[in-house]
Symmetry: C2
Subunit: 433 residues, 2 copies
């Protein structure tokens, strides 16, 4: 038992540094939990000249030769991000018999299936708890704890940056651009925030969650995505007036298509009732709400990003994969036996919130209700917002019953063409009862 | 691969029935997830004459001979509850090479260590996700997902009955006895509610959580327990006035004893701030808040009881243990390497809320502050509640800084002896910042 489990680290940024530090600080605990010591045998970086003394790692461990390193380890932890060389290195590691741990949601969202097949073929573990919702134990509960149940729906706040922005807008009334600038200053948003605010980060995570929940291969490109850049302070205020809050949600659900089932996956700004457990998720926190046949409603909450939290998730996977190396066995592989069709977004049904500027004159509400009804969309509620005497307009807030994206698009076209309507301000989806 | 994994069920009440139904309804899904079909080979019950057709099980499967049944299965699911014969049957099952799954918190809280050692010795799995917080995936996250991190504190609402009662008292202002009667009518509380309202159910769960979180053997009898029967409508109202809510919390924390560490475990009614994530847990829901060194603050939320939710947790364990039977390997065993001392409750430090009836006359507040200060306990806040002109008394709400149970007991004695104090109404612990 004196032999160690050999670990290769690919990438040594904020998360990699935290992983390395923790492995050295808690050496004895890891040895007790795994049954053998864990040993970092090398760290692949782009520039070996950089000072990394704060990681506590010997300078001789750093190498630019990732290709060789991955063939010399029992476990390979990939924290480089991006498609290449991450993908080729993980493939090479698996082919060399290493179990692999990755936090790379973009790679998994696009090429997860290939990597899974390779891991299956070589009898190794492929773990990725850190790829979705950072520190929150979520992947393992979905893969293992709920394996005897049947998941109907996963609905989550999986991007901290956008939640920080929307929460701040909700609490201060500020416009998105101002809050984004502040988030960038505080380090909650990147200098180029595109991946977050356009929803691409959440999109990849939604694909991973849907694949796990429904035992079906869902790729990032299968996920309909709308970002938050169109959300205005007016929308947030209107949502608040009807007891709602706006969150960027990743939603994956099973839908019944007249006897057979399909998977519906999407990411978009969503109005939810303030009493919903997801509504009270503040700042950059993440939370994922899971609905199952037997367990009912579950929620998992915690920090979705950051060096230490992400390292916590990575290291949980490390202990599990290392135990398998020591005692034998393997974690569950990919299960895609259900192989359900993915519903096109046009067919997906949700309720909608519509904010309109209309002429402030008698009969307008009736006309608008008629226009909408003629498209087969029914109205759940309709209320007048602010009346503006200066330009003779009034704001109108509508919530429809569940209708298809296609029908709703027709409604919006008709409203835009109506002479009573000056402007269709916002169209946002509404979730929950 | 045509051979099945043979399952024995001990007990066929609400949870056992739900497990049996689900195993038969989702036969194909279980086979896909495990890699082989799962087959119930027998169900041990006290009375085989009872009509159990709603379980979908063939009548010939029911037996009173549990002793023989447990030697004929690959997996044994124990849902009888209580100490004996559950303990002997689980021991016999393990000795026969079966992996075992149990929801029996009372048994684990008292004899967990013995069972663990036996499972280790025989190389089988012992799983118990359903024993704490029902459907909520919690045991596996603590055992596996957070295995690379270090847990500082676990604080949870783990008893649905008492949460239902306290939540209802908070929302309606009613007295405990009335709400308890209503809970009994609605089926949220047993005819004999002792185990719930006296905190014994939560006590066993706290022992299980503390053992897992701190890798130390903590038994039910090591856990200090106070039930909710002393909580009055006045306490709830007073808590509300200072922005708090009263919850029955199971708390397990690591405490620093001048260089070395100890474990502090207790169950008691607790004031927490309304902004704390646990404060908004309504009705009979459970939620567990976990604080770790790296991940920070995590919360797990869901239904804590009920046939289907509990069956969901049991069946997740079944799939995992069955996979191990098919593909080899084992889950993590008990880790008690840390073997920390358990702090006696007298040494444990918390803040306290004290509700007093005092003489409504000048100088009383100063006298009381002096009395408390002389015992080395410092006051965080002090505010006067209702003044009652009819009897010349006023209610006083005090919150102390963190002090030891022993010092606080002295303070209460001194207050009771003070001529300014008519009555010490309540003394409750306060948690959170």
């Amino acid at each position: 038992m004196s032999e160690s489990v050999r670990i290769a680290l690919l990438g040594c940024g904020v998360v990699g540094g935290a992983v390395a530090r923790r492995l050295s600080e808690a050496k004895d605990e890891f040895a007790a939990r795994v049954g053998r010591p864990l040993e970092i045998v090398g760290v692949a970086v782009r520039d070996t000249g950089k000072d990394r003394s704060e990681t506590g790692l010997d300078a001789s461990l750093f190498t630019t030769d990732a290709e060789t390193l991955v063939t010399e380890a029992d476990l390979v932890i990939e924290l480089m991000g991006g498609m290449e060389p991450a993908k080729s290195l993980l493939q090479k590691a698996i082919e060399s018999g290493a179990s692999v741990i990755t936090a790379n949601k973009a790679l998994l969202g696009q090429h997860g299936a290939e990597l899974y097949e390779l891991a299956e073929e070589h009898g190794v573990d492929l773990y990725y708890e850190a790829a979705v919702a950072g520190a929150i134990p979520l992947i393992r509960p979905l893969r293992v704890s709920l394996a005897g149940d049947s998941v109907h729906r996963v609905m989550g706040i999986v991007n901290g940056t956008t939640n920080f922005i929307l929460d701040k807008m909700d609490r201060t009334g500020a416009q998105l651009a101002d809050v984004l600038a502040e988030a960038q200053e505080l380090g909650y948003a990147e200098a180029d925030p595109t991946a977050d605010v356009e929803g691409h980060d959440a999109q990849a995570k939604a694909a991973i969650l849907a694949s796990l929940a429904f035992h079906t291969r869902v790729r990032t490109c299968d996920v309909h995505v709308e970002g938050i850049m169109g959300v205005t302070a007016d929308d947030i205020r209107a949502a608040r007036r009807i007891g709602c809050v706006i969150k960027l949600l990743a939603i994956a659900e099973l839908v019944d298509k007249g006897g057979s089932q399909a998977v519906n996956v999407r990411v978009h700004p969503t109005l939810i009732d303030r009493s919903h457990p997801l509504a009270s998720v503040r700042e950059a926190f993440n939370a994922v709400f899971v609905e199952t046949q037997m367990a009912g409603e579950l929620m998992f909450y915690g920090p979705g990003a950051g060096g230490d939290p992400t390292a916590s998730a990575v290291l949980g996977d490390v202990v599990q994969a290392a135990r398998h190396k020591v005692t034998g066995g393997r974690g569950p592989g990919e299960l895609s036996y259900a192989n359900l069709p993915i519903e096109p977004i046009g067919a997906s049904k949700t309720a909608y919130f519509i904010r309109l500027d209309v002429e402030d004159k008698p009969g307008v509400l009736a006309n608008i209700a008629k226009t909408i009804g003629e498209q087969g969309v029914s109205i759940e509620s309709m209320r007048q917002g602010v009346r503006r005497s200066q330009d003779g307009l009034a704001t109108l807030h509508l919530i429809t019953h569940r209708s298809s994206e296609a029908d709703l698009a027709d409604v919006v076209e008709r409203l835009k063409a109506s002479e009573d309507v000056r402007e269709v301000g916002s169209v946002l989806r509404v979730e929950g009862e």
